[in-house]
């Protein structure tokens, strides 16, 4: 279990952060190096791989024909799934999604959905009957902390890279035609997660820091600086002031990161 660190190391991490420092030399508000590669899975309609330090997340998108939900007959359907595949960490077990992968998928989903990042009305083919269904599959390949930000970023990068099949309606049946159109994207929500360690807020915690943190707070910010989704996690708490500080910093960091996204 290489991922469980000693108490001594935990203490060092906490003490350094109490003084505003991190063991890897970063400032509290610094992300690790971010690498974004798009389009690496040709079989997928869209794909992106994110490296956040050693954390590695691959997202692939698939588009299928399906039915709309009864309460949104004019809109395509977004489905986000996350797999914490066991090669990414000795703490991930094969099997059906657990609460961690379900929470991760739902956080990524909400960032996209609530920011109205996709113009889902353009995915409607026949109102109430046929729409495009977009599957966003988050595949965590290496877990070195801050899976939420890496996954959310990879999902948006993959969506920006996603091509939608052309189609025509012949005699009441939908036929796919050659050629593609880019997925109609309106926004690029960015999720920024804070770890609370030694009563400080730290961005982009890596694995060992996560083992020390009291709680985490994730905020998705849209292109206009609005907050569009929040998730608190962990068995600690935040003060109101910490929450407001986080909201402010999330806005700044999200702008920085958004610049790295090709659109």
């Amino acid at each position: 279990m290489s991922s469980v660190i000693t108490r001594v190391k935990q203490k060092q991490i906490a003490q350094a952060i109490a003084k505003g420092k991190r063991l890897d030399g970063r400032d509290l508000a610094d992300y690790r190096e971010i690498k974004i590669e798009q389009g690496i899975i040709e079989r997928a309609e869209g794909s992106a791989r994110i490296l956040l330090g050693k954390t590695e997340v691959l997202v692939g998108t698939k588009i299928e024909l399906g039915e709309p939900f009864p309460d949104t007959p004019n809109e395509g359907v977004l489905t986000v799934n996350a797999e914490l595949v066991p090669l990414a960490s000795s703490t991930f077990e094969p099997g059906p999604p657990d609460e961690n992968s379900i929470e991760l998928a739902r956080i990524v989903d909400r960032g996209i959905r609530e920011s109205k990042a996709i113009d889902t009305e353009k995915l409607c083919i026949e109102p109430g009957k046929k729409v495009f269904v977009i599957f966003v599959d988050v595949y965590v390949l290496n877990h070195d902390g801050n899976l939420i930000d890496a996954s959310a970023l990879a999902a948006v990068a993959a969506l920006l890279n996603t091509k939608m099949p052309n189609y025509e309606i012949k005699e009441g049946e939908v036929k796919l035609k050659p050629g593609y159109t880019p997925l109609p994207m309106r926004k690029r929500p960015i999720t920024v997660t804070f770890a609370k360690i030694s009563d400080k807020l730290v961005v982009d915690a890596w694995l060992e820091e996560e083992q020390v943190m009291d709680a985490r707070l994730s905020m998705a910010i849209d292109d206009d600086g609005n907050i569009c989704a929040i998730q608190k996690g962990g068995s600690g708490y935040f003060t109101v002031q910490e929450i407001l500080d986080a909201a402010k910093m999330a806005r700044e960091k999200s702008e920085e990161i958004r610049k790295k996204l090709k659109w």
Binding site: E114, N226, I230, T239, I243
Partner: protein, 244 residues
Amino acid sequence: MSQKTEKLIDKKGLRLDGRKPDELRPIKMEVGILSNAEGSAYIEQGKNKILAAVFGPKEMHPKHLALPDRMVIRCRYHMAPFSVQERKSPSPSRREIELSKVIRESLEPTVFMEYYPRTGIDVFIEVLQADGSTRCASITAASVAMADAGIPMRDLVAACSAGKVDDTIILDLMDAEDKLGSADVPVALMPNHNAVTLLQMDGILTAEEFEKTVSLALEGCQKIYAMQKEALKTRYVSVKEVEE
């Protein structure tokens, strides 16, 4: 948050059920109503009807889940099939699994976990009827049930949602406001510690609106906290009467 209608606040500034924007729904709490649980509570908040029960502290099964230096809290938030408009399958949905996690994490900060190493407590929540903001009502009830069970705690946890509909910041969203409004922010608070133990958000808010919404939700938490104390007091008094 998928649609916008302009009818959630009327011309007088009142909501569909006649409430003012900063008004809670009627709340009723009962404590200690289940005979097999160590602690239990029932809450009605508007049309929400929710039961919470606490079992333990007890030995963990399976044993490898026990921790050498602290207790373990498990939590299950579950909806009855008839609690919502369309019958819900009784097997846990992804939403229920996520809510079970965030509810558990909203309760953990208040518990003296280290008092009972190697043990566990189970918090079971059953939503018998759902009408919006069920996770907040569930936390409110579960916290009272934990107190009823005698779990050693720093503070109660009181929870309340706030949000935005028709450009108005409102308190304690009911189902229609949750579905048709433009933002929903559930919050849980340890009232004597200024400690926010649950914070989620769906929708779109500016930084300013967000600050307002959180403030309103925290006011709601304080009011609910007063009711929690009242419910526990009533219970304590009635138990005492029985014992005498």
